[in-house]
Symmetry: C2
Subunit: 128 residues, 2 copies
Amino acid sequence: MEPTRTHKKVSDPPAGEEPGWTPVTAALAVGEALRVLEGRWKLLILFQLFGGNVRRFSELERAIPEVTQKMLAQQLRQLEADGIVRRVVHPEIPPKVEYSLTVWGQSLCPVLDALLKWSARREETPEA
Amino acid sequence: MEPTRTHKKVSDPPAGEEPGWTPVTAALAVGEALRVLEGRWKLLILFQLFGGNVRRFSELERAIPEVTQKMLAQQLRQLEADGIVRRVVHPEIPPKVEYSLTVWGQSLCPVLDALLKWSARREETPEA
DNA sequence: CTGCATCCTCGAAGATACTG
DNA sequence: CAGTATCTTCGAGGATGCAG
């Protein structure tokens, strides 16, 4: 991130020109939020946990066949670090680890729901 | 896309076991929809067009300072190909190209709106 | 102004093997 | 079962220059 970008200057206005809610500030805030959801598997994972579901590592693996263990573990840990997902380890043999949404993660439900509805409409539309 | 995935088999059930709406089918549909939104700049672009805004290429450039011309053009063309964004060329000197959401693109508004609200909550939360 | 063409870098993601 | 470690590839994305 933060490339040299020799091609553009961000100009950085003196901050006092607007009351506090411009499309620009919105875009910035959204950009930050988007960073959390970035990653090819994050949303897919969240959809598995959507609705209070609790899933084991291997269940997620089965649910998302194209993901590798490495990527699944990595994205899960990022989601955990961002406070979206909770990871619970059961110290037993064989090991058992369960993933679920945190309370904060639940706040994503409207987003997931909107996405779900959109993809549904997308299917029923003749020529998307 | 479509890696060799030697590590997993998708199993492909005979399709008749469920009425037609399982978490699995939902996940698949969402996966398809997600492909359209995939790309580091797509959502940022859509937020600029959100609410019926019409934006010129250079305006989008200014609004998203970190994106390069190349990526902006590329992602715009992908969005156009997916029917989300409309591109209107005004044959004049100097050239002028305007981008806006298609009707189908407008159907993404609930998603964008939910994201916007989420990022707002995210800001006002002490420890995210 | 709005792009496309080219070259090149660099890190995301895959394969594979190993462990508590 | 649920990961980590290591090596490698591959293409997304950046820099730059040119064109309609």
